[in-house]
């Protein structure tokens, strides 16, 4: 009985609850948590949800902003693929057998991928905008770099996790490691890789929408200026556009993933 008292899962629960309580202590409860007039604003925002502005010019602006957002997400994903695929292959360490070469390659590729994905896309975006100005290409880089880091890591894991049997058969037939990769690992890992890529595309839409915070247009920009105008009805229209867009892409990726992973 005594051993069960500090069972690892119970320990985990204790740690998590403790951490949450610690974080509650850090909130300044003494000062007013809610703005004077904050509840009123909340009421107005909630009411506006039921009266979104649907005039033609706002809908047109929404469609325009949606396309910008989609364009950023798609171009960002192509860059992410261009980064993630080669780095993922290197990071999986399937091409080299020699000990120290392999360790060097795998280690450096993993480090680069980890660095890419540890910085949030909006922070990348701000750094790029500060460096080179408000070019849409900055948005592509800002999305592509962290997403490339994530894709590369997942790809490397998927390439390692394929069943060993068919690979041995290929090697037995005299295939080089490149051929084993091309004819063995890639075809077996492809459905999962595509499926994950589509899932990230879904996330990419949301990320692309907020890039406007640093001045690169899109749906987030429209939401931001509507809020600045205290025009909550207009804001909800654009938020609904964003949700619809995410649902659309999510539906598409869902269909593709169900076909791929059977």
């Amino acid at each position: 009985m005594k051993a069960r008292l500090l069972e690892s899962r119970r320990l985990l629960t204790l740690i998590l609850v403790g951490a949450f309580l610690w974080s509650l202590l850090n909130v300044n409860w003494a000062e007013g948590l809610v703005h004077p007039g904050g509840l009123e604003a909340l009421g107005q925002i909630a009411l506006a949800l039921f009266q979104p502005r649907l005039s033609p010019d706002i809908l047109a602006a929404g469609a325009q902003a949606s396309w910008t957002t989609v364009a950023y997400a798609v171009t960002g994903m192509t860059l992410a693929l261009a980064i993630g695929l080669p780095l993922g292959v290197v990071a999986s360490g399937v091409l080299t057998r020699v000990g120290w070469v392999r360790r060097l390659n795998v280690g450096s590729a993993r480090f680069v991928l980890a660095f890419f994905r540890s910085i949030h896309e909006l922070v990348w975006a701000w750094l790029f905008v500060a460096a080179v100005g408000l070019s849409p290409v900055a948005a592509v880089l800002a999305l592509g770099i962290p997403y490339g880091g994530v894709l590369g890591r997942i790809y490397s894991e998927l390439l390692q996790d394929v069943p060993e049997g068919p690979l041995r058969a290929l090697r037995g037939a005299g295939a080089s490691e490149w051929r084993v990769l091309w004819y063995g690992r890639l075809p077996m890992a492809l459905p999962d890789m595509l499926s994950y890529t589509f899932y990230r595309f879904e996330c990419g839409i949301r990320s692309a929408a907020i890039l406007s915070f640093v001045g690169l247009g899109g749906l987030g920009y429209q939401i931001q200026i509507s809020l600045a105008d205290l025009n909550y009805g207009r804001m909800w229209t654009f938020v609904l556009f964003l949700i619809l867009l995410v649902l659309l892409v999510g539906g598409w990726s869902g269909i593709v993933r169900r076909r791929l992973v059977v």
Partner: protein, 293 residues
């Protein structure tokens, strides 16, 4: 003729042509989207004063890097002053607290609802017969998840800052709202993938729906729920700085102020703190995940 089998009598695969169709159409749509998007982006770049693909970009990037490292500015770089590091440390501490608070809110909401968002136990084969109440609850929960996660953290924060006064709390609430949708959906999908046998066994002994949920579904799903919780924490710590831009808490606010003042050596130092937090949380979460197994 007669010695060859008639191809028309071959049993046809019913799934293959359909599969090819969906994937083919998707591939075509993807190619068109990629082409059109790159055209849009490159066109948008062309009308800029300085195109991205010019020597100007290289020069400006190099200048920016020099500014980050504090070369040739004449001032003492922020990262060379002990006082600045100490100030940033308290901000990093606040940021960590905000991330824990955010994941805590998300966990509470998701934990209370995720079982009611699972198709199999609410409307599918494991659901109680003839009960439309559970059906309504299921649709409601799933709808809330979609709305919560369809709106990015930053947009939530922009709205919440109208209601709550600036600090840790609005940022944490924004993080919590968005992530409760994500965590809830992930956890519901865990329930949908559970082994149905213990659930059926419970039901066959005459347990009510809530009893089945608490004693058959919850214990099975909990370890994976914990794993996802820790995985989301790793994501949240990266986003905390972004929410801080508008919620005015932690590293994010200072990052924004330093950017607006072109105080780039401070940006370099804040980025170092940010990376320390991210790597630290990654290691910590990996350690805690081992406990969940």
């Amino acid at each position: 003729m007669s010695e060859l089998p008639d191809v028309r009598t071959f049993p046809r695969s019913r799934t293959l042509p359909l599969r090819l169709d969906v994937l083919c159409i998707s591939a075509i749509v993807a190619v068109v989207l990629v082409a059109a998007s790159w055209l849009t982006v490159l066109n948008g770049d062309r009308i800029q004063q300085h195109g991205f693909f010019s020597t100007e970009t290289l020069e400006r990037s190099l200048t920016f890097l020099r500014d980050l490292l504090g070369i040739g500015t004449g001032r003492t770089p922020a990262f060379a002053q002990w006082e600045e590091w100490r100030k940033a440390a308290t901000l990093a501490y606040d940021t960590l607290a905000m991330s824990v608070l955010g994941i805590g809110f998300a966990a509470i909401v998701a934990f209370a609802t995720f079982m009611f968002g699972a198709r199999n136990v609410m409307v599918g084969e494991l659901a109680p017969y003839g009960s439309w109440v559970w059906r309504v609850v299921f649709v409601l929960v799933r709808g809330l998840y979609i709305a919560a996660r369809g709106i990015p953290e930053l947009v939530w924060a922009m709205v919440i800052i109208f209601v709550l006064s600036p600090g840790l709390l609005p940022g944490a609430v924004a993080l919590g709202l968005h992530n409760s949708g994500i965590l809830g959906k992930l956890a519901s999908e865990v329930v949908e993938g559970l082994d149905p046998r213990p659930i059926r066994a419970m039901r066959s002994t005459g347990a009510g729906h809530m009893q089945v949920m608490v004693y058959a579904v919850l214990p099975q799903a909990l370890p994976r729920f914990m794993t996802y919780l820790l995985y989301r924490w790793e994501v949240i710590i990266r986003t905390t700085i972004v929410v801080g831009f508008v919620a005015a808490g932690g590293l994010g606010l200072q990052f924004r102020l330093s950017m607006n003042q072109f105080h780039y050596t401070a940006i370099a130092m804040l980025l170092v703190w940010y990376l320390i937090l991210v790597v630290g949380v990654d290691l910590l979460a990996a350690g805690l995940r081992r406990l969940a197994r």
